[in-house]
């Protein structure tokens, strides 16, 4: 039954594409964990916040309009202008950098040297906070993300594959775009970390906090830097996922999809995030395709975790994590 095989292949390819989307989210986690040892649960909410901000700016929404109206009895909603997508993206990046600075100033500075779980909890607090602020700022209705990304089936691939195999493959153009953007993003990160002073500092800190501090790298600067980058990555993820489902609260839940990716890839490895994302994406789609119908489907939520769990049992440090050598 070649059709079945082709279909399986198609599922796989689509899984890989989704995996890229997962990896995009996971990347934000990895960056922050690598540089500061913080497991940033707020990454998902940051993606939501970035996407909300982008759309809000694009549509010329007045921030905190609801609050202002409630307090002053005014009735304002929009400035009445539309901001071009590119400019809006730049502005959003600036907002995310500002957010990074604030997070460092208000939260992280006071929690230096705390146990990881405390920092983790702080990021959950941050997630609540940002969610509330995002709602207050831009409202909690669903917004349409439109930055000109293509969407829908790629006809050329459909046609080409049909010509070759007699089976038209479905690939979403958004997924293709996401893959390209993800590749560009990773390339940019590599260039940044290899060829810029800040990037090298970042790597130094990731390798060894103490050593980095002793050669005069400001940890606080690094933190702002890495949170800014994570904010940028969150924006990219927010755009991609927002284009799929509209910008709304549920966007923040994509963080949950990134966690098994992290387990699999290792918390500190960028290639791990990518490869982990691909494996998880492909794995869960294939599982849903092959086993799903037997057990009633909707397996994707847990399968990724169970896959990662089984994997970890055999390799506790993840795919690309450093081997744990126990010493006394």
């Amino acid at each position: 039954m070649p059709d079945q095989v082709f279909f399986a292949l198609e599922v796989m390819v689509n899984g890989l594409m989704v995996g890229v989307m997962y990896a995009l989210v996971a990347l934000g986690f990895v960056l922050i964990f690598k540089a500061s040892g913080i497991f940033n649960y707020a990454q998902g909410v940051m993606a939501l916040f970035a996407a909300l901000t982008l759309v809000g700016i694009q549509q010329g929404q007045v921030p905190f309009a609801h609050l202002i109206n409630a307090i002053f009895g005014t009735d304002i909603h929009h400035f009445g202008w539309q901001v071009p997508a590119l400019l809006a993206i730049v502005l959003t990046v600036l907002v995310m950098i500002g957010l990074a600075v604030l997070i460092e100033r208000i939260v992280l500075k006071h929690l230096v040297n705390q146990e990881p779980i405390i920092l983790f909890m702080a990021t959950i607090g941050l997630a609540y906070f940002l969610e509330g602020v995002g709602d207050l700022m831009w409202g909690s209705d669903i917004k349409v993300m439109d930055v000109g990304l293509p969407q829908g089936i790629s006809d050329s691939i459909d046609r080409a594959t049909f010509d070759w195999f007699g089976y038209g493959f479905f690939i979403d153009r958004l997924d293709i775009a996401a893959s390209i953007i993800a590749a560009l993003l990773v390339a940019a990160l590599i260039v940044f970390s290899q060829y810029t002073r800040e990037g090298r500092a970042l790597r130094a800190v990731a390798d060894d906090h103490q050593a980095a501090l002793s050669v005069g790298i400001s940890l606080r600067f690094i933190w702002v830097l890495v949170w800014s980058i994570a904010g940028f990555v969150a924006l990219v993820a927010g755009i991609m996922w927002g284009a799929k489902s509209g910008v709304q609260f549920s966007l923040s839940l994509i963080a949950l999809k990134a966690l098994p990716v992290l387990m699999l890839g290792g918390f500190t490895s960028i290639p791990g995030a990518i490869v982990g994302g691909l494996i998880i994406g492909m794995g869960e789609k294939l599982f849903e395709f092959i086993v799903g119908p037997l057990v009633g489907g909707a397996t994707e939520n847990w399968f990724a975790y169970v896959l990662a769990l089984l994997f970890l049992v055999f390799r506790p440090q993840g795919l690309f994590g450093e081997k744990i050598i126990e010493r006394v």
Partner: protein, 427 residues
Amino acid sequence: MTRLTTLALGAALAAGPALADLVFPDLSYRTGPYAAGGIPFSDGYQDYFALVNARDGGIGGVPARVVECETAYNTEKGVECYEATKGEGALVYQPLSTGITYQLIPKVQADGIPLHTMGYGRTSAANGEVFSHVFNYPANYWDAASVAISYLSGENGGDLTGKKITLLYHNSAYGKEPIRTLEELAAKHGYELTTIAVDHPGQEQGSQWLRIRRERPDYVIMWGWGVMNQVAIQEAANIRFPMENFIGNWWAGAEHDVTPAGAAANGYKSLNMNRVVDYPVFDDIRTYVVEAGNAAGDGSNVGSVLYTRGMYAAMLAVEAAKTAQEIHGVADIDAGMMRDGMEALEMTAAKMEALGMPGIGPEFSVTCQNHGGSGLGLVQQWDAAAGTWTPLTDFIAPDDAVIDPLIAADSEAFAAENGITPGCAES
């Protein structure tokens, strides 16, 4: 400071009922994953009461008071809201959440406060002999499934034999509701049913839609809520599934469900329990409520699908209250009287016309045996260019022959489990 704490405490202690008005709690959700659906419904619900107060001077001369309580679609918060508001003399609850409904069913039966779950909640509550205080008129999920099949049957000249129909459902109690009905109907109509579950929240439906693309069903019926709807419609567009063959239930057919997909969503259909057109009553609302600054929201939702439904729900509540006032001959009714009013509610075309919303819903009358109304529903279609939903059909009747036994079986099971003797109490 003193004021704040006393007030906070006062609220916490649920101050004694203020008898001078009719209290309609609104368990709304303006935050959380389903806020997009919760906001317009709540706006419509509240605005109608505001209209009644402003325009008619209340219900039978008694002003209505809406007590809003945020649940965030969360059952525990729903319970908290219920407990916090019931002491204020609440007449009827409209929780807009199947989960909360299930919590409240035993509680309202015990407290004697009616619960109106309009087109959601526990379907078998239509059996008023078992569920004395729960009403789910004008229609329920099983009605909806049946209406959808009836509609498709009508499209196909009355014959669905050999057709492939796929149910894409939210993997929750709500999503699973229509499965039994559709299965029964499949046996009756001879179509082939496949069900595909989407887990909460439903952001990622790639594999489900690949499957749909491969299996090429003739129709896809969707039982979704929240982000699942938007993603499904987008994915349907992505695989170029013909939108006119894609029918959502009435909780998957609002503006915000289709707008993220843009033009690609054009032609998507959904069920509705109420007709959405520009009713005269909207002008009244704009005049008496929005412009007076008393709107629950910013007024931009007026006329949208869920706003209209919220308003419809409020209208049914007001009419039931009026009925209660007539039955008991007092203006200041209590929850028990409200229940009687709901059980004696009759919606006629003339009544709706008079209220400025002609044909907004089907005609129906509630009885002790039937708390579920007529079960009629219509099909509407999204016009992406105009940005409006257009009613395609008139109200379609469900297949009661299939549904009634299901309701009887389920409600009897509940009665047995909870030691309820079915019957109509003398009220």
